[in-house]
Amino acid sequence: MVTKPNFDTLVEAHSAEIFAYLWRMVGEKADVEDCLQETFLRAFRGYSHLVSGSNYRAWLYKIATNVARTHFSRRKRAAIHKVKIDPSRLQGGISPVDELDRQEMLMVVLEAVEGLPYKQRAAFMMRKYQGLSYHTIATVLGGTEDAARANVYQALKKLRAQFVTVTEGSREKPWAKR
């Protein structure tokens, strides 16, 4: 008989990772903190119904994915949201020639990412930046591993296609050269 861990143990073990995931999915700092609390409060509410021995990590990811989705649909409805980049989020890894181009480039990709179908975006972030296995992603999204793979693939394909369209439209710009 496997006993379930104390809920506080789950909070300590997974809150940093879930926070990073929400950071990537949600963006605005205050909203990310809020979504983190919402995720664990929802989890707490459902914890007694969870079967012991479940994949707790995938379960928390699943709740976080839903919380972020609710957050987005509310924000979309408010329709005042403008995508913007908080400079403190950037790691300073690219150095295109002038700052305007750099900003423009980042905006294009950010908007393209936010424009992805939600499942694709979630799958993509979980795979590329959270390092989850396709098996776990499938558990989170509720489908097969192949479906999880297809979601990541579709996301990447769309992002690259948009990126290429924009960069080809400005071939004279130095950063567009590979």
Binding site: R24, R45, L106, V152
Partner: protein, 229 residues
């Protein structure tokens, strides 16, 4: 299924790209610029500290909620503390309602049709036109003093009567505060039971209403109470 296998075979190299690109091309570099760093340790520590605090308050106070799913004005959510009704909402869905209460009170309500039975029953009767007044305790702890004053005053306006924002401002002894009165009513957390729909603009027009359906709902509620518009 067969199709997905195909995807795998055909685009296997795309998927490899997700896992490792070396050397990274410019597209990947831009993506990484936005997402690779992740939150910094201070941000994470701060968020975790807030989370611990939020979790610690769970269970210290209990609130309960339930929904009236098919009322004439759509789904109506009702939340109660041990002291009385905390919130009624018929604008957003369940999760939005719960998250709003949590932000406002720090408590995450639990679903309990039993504990909310009396309140939902009264609201149901009212919306069916079978009840004139409510007999429910109200929990106003989570409001400002001014909001409390305004909402207590509007609770004295009986069914079938209306008052203007200006007149209500005079009732509470702040004749110049009609606008602030309007704002306090606009953020009324317990519509219907606290009848902010009975307050109209001074020209007799409906003014505003922030519940689902806006002023149309306001008009419906007033007609239900026998006010001719």
């Amino acid at each position: 299924m067969g199709e997905e296998m195909n995807v795998e075979r055909e685009y296997g190299n795309w998927l490899d790209e997700v896992d490792s690109v070396s050397p990274p091309d410019f597209f990947t570099a831009v993506l990484d610029e936005l997402y690779a760093r992740g939150p910094n340790p201070q941000e994470t520590a701060q968020a975790q500290e807030q989370l611990r605090r939020a979790m610690a308050s769970v269970g210290h106070e209990r609130m309960y909620y339930d929904v009236l799913p098919r009322s004439p004005i759509g789904s109506v959510y009702i939340a109660l503390s041990e002291r009385g009704v905390v919130a009624i909402d018929f604008s957003d869905g369940e999760e939005a309602f719960l998250s709003w209460i949590r932000k406002r009170t720090g408590v995450y309500p639990l679903r309990s049709p039993e504990r909310t039975a009396e309140a939902t029953h009264q609201v149901e009767e009212y919306l069916a036109g079978k009840r004139a007044a409510f007999d429910l305790p109200i929990d106003m702890r989570f409001l400002t003093d001014f909001q409390r004053t305004v909402l207590r005053a509007v609770m004295k306006v009986p069914r079938g009567e209306v008052i203007t924002y200006g007149a209500l401002a005079r009732v509470i002894g702040q004749p110049k505060a009609a606008r602030a009165v309007g704002r306090a009513l606009g953020s009324n957390p317990i519509p219907i039971v606290i009848p902010c729909h009975r307050v109209l603009a001074s020209d007799g027009s409906l003014g505003g209403y922030s519940g689902r359906g806006g002023v149309r709902t306001k008009a419906d509620l007033l007609r239900l109470e026998g006010v001719s518009l």
